[in-house]
Symmetry: C2
Subunit: 339 residues, 2 copies
């Protein structure tokens, strides 16, 4: 078992900088596209054997130091009662958006054993196949709330902020329910064998810091507090969260994920004694090889003083990324950091 | 003539904090919708009398301390040869995206006198009507380049970064041409009577700081250097630019616009001796009156130590904003800051 990733999460000294990439199991891989050609995305997420297959695909090609469970941040949200569907090129749609007391009350707190058995089954199957750690994950409550309220993705998040600003009590009630679902889902993943847990806060960055502090951070803190006893590394990734970093560092995670907009040296200053994960611009993987290596070199240099660094992208890998560039990046991180 | 806005731009002491709002002439006003019902957006931008009308509409309702020319950041780009159109709810489309040497060479540097006479005519007509300063504007080169390269708006800006990373010489050539066009367009606006000039860098925030420094900042600096002699305040707004603020402060502008993600106190620390403009979350205008006042109070308090503060939103006003909330905000800024 290669424990480099877990060591870095714990801030221990490692032989080299471990690497994984957000969405490493995804559309940039022809073998993933092949599986997806046979089954719609949402069905794939509920099919343990195929989830195992696509989780393993990048590990067969690249020397990744961690695997991440193939699933979607909205899977537990569907289990709460959201009528979820995915449409090619459109992102998720929730047919019954949640904007009033009645629809919030109708949401149930999901029971992972009953509602999400396929997730735990995927985790169990993966653990018997993997020789690197397996990361479980969920969407952070604020991000899940935006999908529930908007009924999908959004440009301005008008409905979310309208609810937040005009009915804060109801917004908090919704966040309570989502948080409890996320806690249960992540505990079940850990119980099934997930060796680290990441909260993805994809849309945290649409909030002013003063609103993040009131409407999002307390729920992330609650979740991590409840997961702390599991003794697995906890990772918090607040996308586009440069101005939220001070607060993210107080979220209760062991590792702070950094998007590509922030200089990693600056992020480390704010992360204090936490490990950091990141943060190459996913599209910098398009750079010619020498420039890509140079940029990776600067990133590793910038992360020199981190209390643990896990190399990652600053966001999910883009579907048009050439797999050979991914290999180059992974191998070069290993090579340079091992010197 | 109410010069409060210009005084704040110059860092002079003012009797109260001046206010204007990005997109203050826009769809949240029924009288604007009425005009738009009679004419497509792009035609409206080329019709001086109607541009004057919609520019004045918010000033009839609210005690704004500045007017901003009604136009679009892509108007000079169309004059370069982009086949521009706007489709309801879709944003701009450029039918001939610019991704290779041939299409870049075909772009011409626009001549405002010949290609954009309607802009200068609008400015001239407005000056004879206004008793507050008139702001002229253009899109910053990087933002204009994203539209030209993507052929419209984008989620990941794959084509832009691909060009930037794989053909940097061609990317810089494109930026050269756009910058020269922007310089000419803004000089013509100032000559026609614009009393301040703002560069909107809507998409600067998709760049890692190291890329902003190489691919975007030098062009903004060049433009401001060429405009410095006009002796009008120059404003730079890099949207979602929290991690670019140190560099934005070196762009050569007199005023730095701040989006709502950054605490204004932090921004002021980085703006140094420049004035700041911002930065209420546009959707915070949905807050109940007392909470809205409290938030404005905190914002004004946070801006206390600025070398000049112009109250504004942190982005364009949302089309579903109740006009009465805009009035409340404008009047309360004036009332509280005059005490």
């Amino acid at each position: 078992m290669n424990e480099t990733f877990l060591q870095a999460c714990r801030g221990e000294k490692t032989d080299y900088t471990p690497v994984w990439m957000m969405r490493q199991a995804g559309r940039y891989l022809p073998e993933y596209q092949k599986v997806r050609g046979t089954i719609p995305f949402l069905e794939l997420c509920k099919h343990p054997e195929l989830c195992v297959e696509v989780t393993l695909q990048p590990l067969r090609r690249f020397a990744m130091d961690a695997a991440i469970l193939f699933s979607d941040i909205l899977i537990p949200i569907e289990a709460m009662g959201a009528e979820l569907s995915f449409h090619e090129g459109q992102g998720p749609i929730i047919a019954n958006p949640c904007r009033d007391a009645e629809t919030v009350e109708q949401l149930k707190i999901a029971d992972p054993e009953q509602d999400l058995p396929f997730v735990q089954e995927t985790v169990r199957l993966l653990r018997s196949e993997l020789d690197v750690p397996l990361i479980g994950f969920a969407g952070a409550p604020f991000t899940c709330a935006t999908y529930l309220i908007e009924g999908g993705s959004s440009k301005f998040f008008y409905e979310t902020k309208k609810l937040m600003f005009t009915q804060p009590g109801l917004f908090h009630r919704l966040m309570d329910k989502i948080s409890e679902t996320v806690i249960r889902a992540l505990k079940a993943q850990a119980k099934a064998g997930a060796q680290a847990l990441q909260l993805f806060d994809t849309w945290a960055g649409i909030l002013a810091p003063c609103d993040f502090e009131i409407f999002a951070l307390p729920y992330v803190q609650r979740i991590f507090r409840k997961l702390r006893d599991l003794n697995v590394p906890l990772i918090y990734f607040a996308n586009n969260g440069a101005t939220l970093l001070d607060m993210s560092a107080r979220a209760g995670a062991h590792v702070i994920g950094i998007d590509w907009r922030t200089d990693i040296g600056d992020a480390i200053g704010k992360a204090g004694r936490l490990a950091v994960q990141g943060n190459l611009d996913p599209l910098a993987l398009l750079l010619p090889q020498e420039e890509l290596k140079e940029r990776i070199g600067r990133l590793l240099g910038g992360a020199r003083d981190a209390c643990g660094h896990i190399f990652n992208l600053g966001h999910g890998i883009h579907q048009l990324t050439p797999p050979d560039q991914v290999r180059l990046a992974v191998d070069f991180v290993h090579e340079l950091s091992a010197r």
